[in-house]
């Protein structure tokens, strides 16, 4: 519908899918955490995933870069199927950036080193070039002056923006976010969301697990609602938030609205 402000939307119809999940199943022991997940994310599309705690949102997006292994079904990322073959896994991880709830910066490296490590060693980029690139991204997330500091010296919001810059320095085609603002104090949430909006405006393919409704409305092309390991509903933000079809989604929405 009217997700007009994004230029990428126009290209999307005929673009190849960036991510394809086809009947994906996963168990932890006997616990069935992902049930027949089907998800098709087009290049440049921005998908927000929401759902109650324990519904398998993290597990699903962690399967996409194989931090977790699925047991049934197919996952295809950027045209490459995820298998046990480590070479294709390396190739996929180069193209998929991830931002974690707990930042996971490397505390013994400076901000700049955090950002240049992977470009230098995985992308084989010359050091000077990697540093210039890192400084560029650090300026875009508005913290170039912190480059020589260590993560422990930064606030939570700053650390999360560094984590975003670090992922971007690999020039990924796809970015995954797992509740990037849940560990932050309220006053820092906005600075991180602003960074993500800015990223969305560049046409990046994004899957973002978050409960930030404002962000979802502003940025998402599609919202996916998960519960108990299933995709229960999916649609444009307006439809999901204003016109929920299932009781599960209605219950979830009333819950988070009460929470806010």
């Amino acid at each position: 519908m009217e997700d007009g402000p994004h230029l990428a939307s126009a290209v999307r119809a005929d673009a190849p899918p960036a991510i394809l999940l086809d009947k994906v199943n996963k168990w932890y022991g006997a616990l069935h955490v992902l049930r027949d997940i089907n998800l098709n994310v087009a290049t440049g599309e921005r998908v927000v995933v929401c759902g109650p705690s324990g519904s398998g949102k993290s597990t699903m997006i962690r399967c996409i870069n194989r931090l977790e292994q699925h047991q049934e079904g197919r996952i295809v990322v950027d045209g490459m199927e995820l298998t046990d073959d480590t070479r294709s896994l390396d190739a996929i991880r180069r193209e998929v950036g991830m931002v974690f709830q707990s930042f996971n910066l490397f505390p013994h490296l400076t901000i700049l080193e955090n950002c240049t490590l992977a470009p230098i060693w995985v992308r084989r980029m010359p050091k000077k070039e990697a540093e210039a690139l890192a400084m560029d991204y650090l300026s875009r997330v508005k913290i170039p002056e912190q480059a020589k500091k260590y993560p422990g010296q930064l606030s939570g919001g700053q650390q999360q923006r560094v984590a975003i810059a670090r992922a971007l320095c690999m020039k990924p085609k796809i970015m995954l976010f797992d509740e990037p603002t849940s560990a932050l104090d309220p006053e820092m949430i906005k600075e991180v969301l602003d960074t993500m909006v800015m990223l969305a405006d560049t046409g990046m393919t994004m899957i973002c697990v978050t409960h930030e409704m404002g962000f979802a409305r502003q940025v998402a092309d599609r919202v996916v609602f998960m519960d108990r390991g299933e995709v229960v509903e999916s649609g444009i933000p307006d439809q999901i938030f204003n016109d929920p079809k299932t009781d599960r989604l209605k219950g979830f929405l009333s819950q988070i609205l009460r929470g806010h």
């Binding site: 931090l67 390396d90 991880r93 996971n104 490397f106 992977a118 060693w121 995985v122 422990g152």
Partner: protein, 384 residues
């Protein structure tokens, strides 16, 4: 109330006063206050302080008297041997450092040919130089491994000789401090990397590697070092084909490396376990390979965490090398013991042990201090 009114009416000076650093009350800082708080806080504390001070002072005075005032530093040496009557006359009231003066070359170099002593002496200096260079962080780069390799080669050439006009000296004649330094330096230099591999192996996803590492660690840890050394010296040659004979020192060295690596591996593993899973995941998500992840992210952090127990283990092994005496290798301690076997010097064990102990202490204390500095320096990033 009056104060508040005054502050309100005169804001400027108050602001200044608030900014000016105020000193804490005099009686709460400084040595006097410290003594009052820690040594004389109650009558029991005062009594204990006085009693201990008395003992401490008496002991110190007694030691100075024994070690310096009444001590004998050298005795005449005649063709019949050292004339130790003067020392015996002291009857223990003063130290007979003459035994150290007389035997120091034996303690340091064992039975190494006397006129060739410059070679082990140079080796000791090389070792110390190697330690100093390795301790400096600005030399921590791959080339340091080459420096080690080169130095250890030079050390081997110097000790064995047989080239460059240096007469060949069989290993049986090596001894003293040199042996202790060789066993502990080579021991740690090889055991430490091995222990890292074993620690990684224990966490490996490959069952065979994991089993191998677990069995290795548990087997070695379950056996005293002495029995390992015995096995190395007695049993090991039985398994070798006829005619091949591995040097006794080398066998002891291998036993020490295997023993040390098993212990160090557990220390390293503790460090690995202390790292949050997020660090592994972040490295994986960036596409780093297993060895890149281990080398750049995991090990640097894990090892920093375990510097104190690592150095503790290093210090332990430095002293444990003295156990090689049971298979007839002459390390520093054994050389000291042997020095006083000679009838003239019998009974001067205290002087020898004080000296040998002091040498051990210098090395161990240096390690300990260095590790504290290193820990503080490397963990700076943790401090906010």
């Amino acid at each position: 109330m009056a104060d508040i009114a005054a502050e309100a009416s005169a804001p400027r000076p108050v602001a200044d006063a608030a900014l000016a650093p105020r000193r804490p009350p005099l009686l709460q800082v400084g040595p006097l206050a410290w003594a009052r708080a820690n040594l004389f806080s109650s009558w029991i504390s005062t009594a204990v302080t006085l009693a201990l001070s008395y003992l401490l002072i008496r002991w110190t005075v007694g030691f100075i008297d024994w070690a310096f005032v009444k001590a004998i530093w050298s005795v005449p040496v005649t063709p019949q041997g050292a004339q130790t009557q003067a020392c015996r006359a002291l009857a223990g009231s003063g130290a007979c450092w003459a035994v150290v003066t007389e035997k120091h070359r034996f303690i340091l170099f064992g039975t190494y040919p006397y006129e060739q002593h410059w070679r082990p002496a140079l080796v000791c200096l090389l070792f110390v130089g190697l330690y100093i260079v390795s301790a400096m962080r600005r030399f921590w780069r791959p080339a340091l491994a080459l420096v080690w390799l080169a130095t250890l080669t030079v050390i081997g050439i110097l000790m064995w000789g047989g080239v460059l006009g240096m007469p060949y000296v069989p290993q049986e004649r090596w001894g003293g401090l040199v042996i202790t330094l060789i066993l502990s330096t080579f021991g740690i230099a090889f055991a430490f990397p091995l222990s890292i591999l074993v620690a990684l192996g224990r966490r490996s996803k490959m069952p065979a590697i994991k089993m191998l590492c677990v069995v290795y660690v548990e087997l070695i840890r379950g056996v005293p070092l002495i029995s390992l050394l015995f096995m190395a010296s007695v049993m090991f040659p039985l398994f070798l084909p006829e005619g091949i004979n591995i040097d006794k020192l080398l066998r002891a060295q291998i036993a020490i490396i295997l023993f040390a690596a098993a212990y160090l591996a557990e220390v390293v593993r503790a460090g690995l376990q202390a790292l949050p899973r997020g660090q592994y995941e972040a490295a994986d998500a960036l596409g780093l390979s297993y060895w890149q992840k281990t080398g750049f992210i995991i090990m640097p952090q894990a090892l920093r965490l375990v510097i104190p127990p690592l150095v503790n283990t290093f210090i332990g092994f430095f002293k444990d090398t003295s156990l090689v005496l049971i298979i007839g290798i002459f390390d520093l301690l054994t050389a000291g013991k042997t020095a006083i076997v000679e009838p003239a010097w019998q009974g001067f064990g205290i002087e020898i042990y004080v000296t040998v102990g002091a040498i051990y202490f210098v090395f161990c204390f240096a390690m300990s201090r260095y590790s504290q500095n290193l820990e503080a320096e490397l963990n700076r990033h943790r401090v906010r």
